[in-house]
């Protein structure tokens, strides 16, 4: 019962996770760390379909992992930085802002589409519940 709503719910969860991860990546885009340690690692969302029930209809999507990008980052010459090493270098995360913004739009639109289907499915189930109403 109400399977379509829970299927869209898995989509909402997945794309909300993606939005959270992108927000965190962008919040840390200017982090500076000493060259002795790792740079902030951008995270990515790994997802796969949830296998279907007996009739073959799928049951949504699930986040299977949040892999991180390389910890090497990029070295930047910034001798005045308090964490700079003896040669004046610091480590910054290797985050491509245009990639993150592109992902942000994809995640946002996909979230909206799933929210839309929750509404449509609610109408359908309401109609089904109302069969025979007022007789």
């Amino acid at each position: 019962m109400f399977d379509a709503i829970s299927t869209s719910g898995t989509g909402l969860t997945t794309y909300r996770t993606w939005l959270d991860v992108i927000a965190n990546n962008i919040a840390n885009v200017n982090d500076v760390s000493p060259t002795s340690g790792p740079a902030f690692q951008a995270q990515y969302v790994q997802a796969q379909p949830i296998d279907g029930g007996p009739d073959g209809a799928g049951q949504g999507v699930a986040v299977t992992g949040l892999p991180s990008s390389s910890a090497a980052g990029v070295l930047e010459y910034d001798p005045n930085n308090p964490v700079a090493d003896a040669n004046g270098y610091v480590r910054r995360p290797d985050i491509d802002m245009s990639e993150q913004m592109g992902n942000l739009i994809m995640a946002q639109r996909a979230f909206q589409a799933n929210a839309n289907v929750v509404e449509r499915s609610t109408d359908i189930y309401k109609a089904a519940i109302d069969i025979g109403k007022g007789i």
């Binding site: 073959g56 799928g58 999507v61 289907v117 449509r120 359908i124 109302d130 007022g134």
Partner: protein, 113 residues
């Protein structure tokens, strides 16, 4: 009296539409999943055939993979098509449940005398 051809075919169609909505929800949930193949639901032709044979209960709901062209990540979900399907299925469902209610209303009128 409650399982005449009209009621049975309406019930079969409502069941088919419910499956279509579930499959559409799944397609949209996987709109960004790499390598995902969309599914489509077809029950109308089977229902028409079953009706021609006089027994709408013989109608089957078929779920099959979509043969639409996949994008660069191997995903072939077309979001605009899916949203149209979701909206259309919702409206059809309201129409059919309304029809079923009217049908039961007739029976109810007869019962009340």
């Amino acid at each position: 009296m409650l399982d005449d051809i009209a009621s049975l075919s309406l019930q079969a169609a409502i069941g088919g539409l419910a499956t279509r909505q579930r499959v559409t929800a799944d397609n949209i949930a996987n709109v960004e999943t790499p390598g995902f193949t969309a599914r489509t639901v077809e029950f109308e032709s089977s229902l028409a055939k079953a009706l021609a044979g006089g027994d709408p209960a013989q109608a089957r709901v078929g779920i099959s993979p979509s043969d639409a062209q996949a994008g660069i990540n191997g995903n072939n979900v077309s979001l605009d098509t899916e949203i149209v399907t979701a909206t259309k299925t919702g409206l059809q469902q309201q129409l059919l449940t309304g029809a079923l209610t009217s049908k039961y209303g007739l029976i109810s009128t007869v019962l009340k005398g």
